[in-house]
Amino acid sequence: MRGLERRDVMLLVIVAVMTLFAPIILNPFPANSAMAQFNAGYPDLMQRFVIFGIFAIGFNILFGLTGYLSFGHAAFLGVGSYSAVWMFKLLGFNIIPAILLSVVVAGLFSVVIGYISLRRSGIYFSILTLAFAQMSFALAYSVLGNPALINLTNGETGLQVYPSDPQVLHGASAPNVTNLFGLEMRQTCEVKLGGTASGLSGCDTHMLPGAFGETFWAFDFNAGYYVCAVLMLIVFYLSIRIFRSPFGMMLRAVKSNQQRLNYTGLNPRPYTLAAFVISGMYAGLAGGLMASMDPLAGAERMQWTASGEVVLMTILGGAGTLIGPVLGAGFIKYFENIFSKINDGVLHSWFAFMPEGLENLFVTLLHPFVGKGWHLTLGILFMLVVIFLPGGLVEGGQRIGRFAFRRRNRKGGEAEAEAARKQPAE
């Protein structure tokens, strides 16, 4: 915490509390209610929230600070995943070596790609990174997955762990799934709140049975999620430090006026390369964690759509802000997993109280926007955000905050808010 300003420490604390209590916060609706499908607190999705959060935090260090828009960051994610699965195959199911190697390999990869791509800026830089990522995808998909020659990626099938793999460090008593020194990543303890008594298994607990009648809440506390969450908090803390450091200031200077930076005696190239490599390592960490939650790596993780996704997350949340990328990642993953599950049956049950004709009309109107059409909804939201909130969700939050602030001190606050807007952080 040393040297960080109060508000940054506050932000970190808030994020830490939110992530630690996420299993509760994300499951606000009773498990047996109609709203339960909006609950996002299941292990799979929560893991994805934080893993993509890490990916986006890293991407933001490059894009948000320097303005260099990479369209190939999924390549580092994929490389991280492959490295991790190789560690599982060769050494065993402990996730520590897997995560370490995924970060290192992604770092090396990004040194090469960054060194070449950063010779250009603007759209040419973006195209170069895109080209590299698509080349990596093609390599992983076919060339390096050829069983006859070298098989690094297992091509279309994807890389996975087989019983015949060496796993030299795999102890006799070690679990046969990914674990952290024996703690299985898939281990989940369910806490049931209210509802009728039921049989408990393992570490599950039941609190206040019968307190709310039939209604009950279910919260899943998953080991894998907490491993990812702790790592996300660490890298989030590091990203705050980078933002507030002289290095971070130089990166913002690169974005603002590279010409001036040159004539001020600073060489932008190593600064941008360092930012590129750091963000590549974040992506590698995200990829390694993905494989640690589910020991499988496929080439599709490197595809350009995956690179585009992290761009959307960062912009949607607020590029160049600390918390924006995490919000964006959560937002998009929530849509992808929750809206896509709403089908016509669900819609009918929502509008069942209406007369038949009206019910059908509503279902027909909403049909294109839910289920398989969740992309449409997301696209519209994305456009609205970019047009009306160029600073992303964070700007939305700030505007709401400012609005509330002004309402409260209608008289004295006005001038102060005005001054606050004109005077950004030093």
């Binding site: 040297g3 960080l4 300003e5 430090r241 980078i242 507030r244 450091s245 002289p246 290095f247 971070g248 200031m249 130089m250 913002r252 200077a253 974005k255 603002s256 006026n257 010409q259 001036r260 930076l261 040159n262 004539y263 001020t264 005696g265 600073l266 060489n267 190593p270 600064y271 360092a274 750091i278 004109k422 005077q423 950004p424 952080a425 030093e426």
Partner: protein
């Protein structure tokens, strides 16, 4: 030998000879002004000194070392800072950050990976930057976004960014253009003071003769890419060639 020695520099842009056989010698600790009509090639000459342009032929020596072929940041690290004709500042950063960046460049060189320490903790450099801002009367604007400053303030900020580096040679391309009268006078005083205090050699391009004559010890007149005369201010004032260069067309 001057601290800056320009010999036989030529620069063509297509069919236009922007600089033709320019020789220039700037003595250490002097203020040397370059004047001349619009399009004379003054800015082009400065561009050749800081690595923005590479001359077609000729040599540029700074303190006995050639600057040609070096990158702009290397030339700056040798001790040459430049104020541009149109202010070049970090518009998205605060005024204080704008001045802090050259402080870091001076202390840490062209690159240093200080990603863990916070800017807020760099007491020494912050004091240095704040003092500089006081010197240019911009202390109260330190938290503002540099891009939101007035044109005159942007110039003063850019000058502060260069001065805080304590360069050995300061190149100023029309530093008072766009400034109000009072600010121009302040700038003259500031430059005089800096010059007296810190032994900074200055090379200044200026259209405002008031500024030129109150600062410069030597003046070079440039016309159509070639130096016409070089002399002390008093003898430049009434020089027939200078009148011709400035008023030539008018007299025809």
């Amino acid at each position: 030998m001057g601290i800056l020695e320009v010999k036989g520099v030529n620069k063509r842009f297509g069919g236009l000879q922007a600089l033709g056989d320019v020789n220039l010698s700037v003595q250490e600790n002097s203020v040397h002004a370059i004047i001349g009509p619009n399009g004379a090639g003054k800015s082009t000459l400065l561009n050749c000194l800081v690595g923005k342009l590479i001359p077609d032929s000729g040599s540029v020596m700074f303190d006995g070392q050639s600057v040609l072929g070096r990158k702009p940041h290397e030339i700056n690290q040798m001790g040459i800072s430049r104020v541009f004709q149109t202010p070049e500042i970090f518009a998205d950063l605060s005024v204080l950050e704008n001045v802090l960046i050259p402080c870091f460049a001076r202390r840490d060189g062209a690159f240093r990976m200080h990603a863990y320490e916070t800017v807020a903790n760099e007491r020494e450099l912050r004091d240095m930057a704040l003092h500089m801002l006081e010197d240019v009367n911009m202390h109260d604007k330190r938290r503002m976004l540099a891009g939101s400053l007035s044109r005159g303030d942007k110039r003063r900020l850019e000058m502060a960014m260069c001065l805080v580096q304590s360069p050995r040679l300061l190149l100023l391309d029309e530093p008072t253009a766009g400034m109000a009268r009072a600010d121009t006078n302040n700038t003259i005083d500031l430059l005089k003071e800096i010059h007296a205090k810190h032994d900074i050699t200055m090379c200044i391009i200026e259209h405002d003769m008031n500024v030129v004559f109150s600062l410069a010890q030597r003046i070079t007149v440039l016309a159509q890419g070639t130096p016409l005369v070089e002399d002390v201010p008093d003898r430049i004032k009434g020089h027939p060639k200078v009148r011709e260069a400035y008023l030539g067309e008018a007299q025809v």
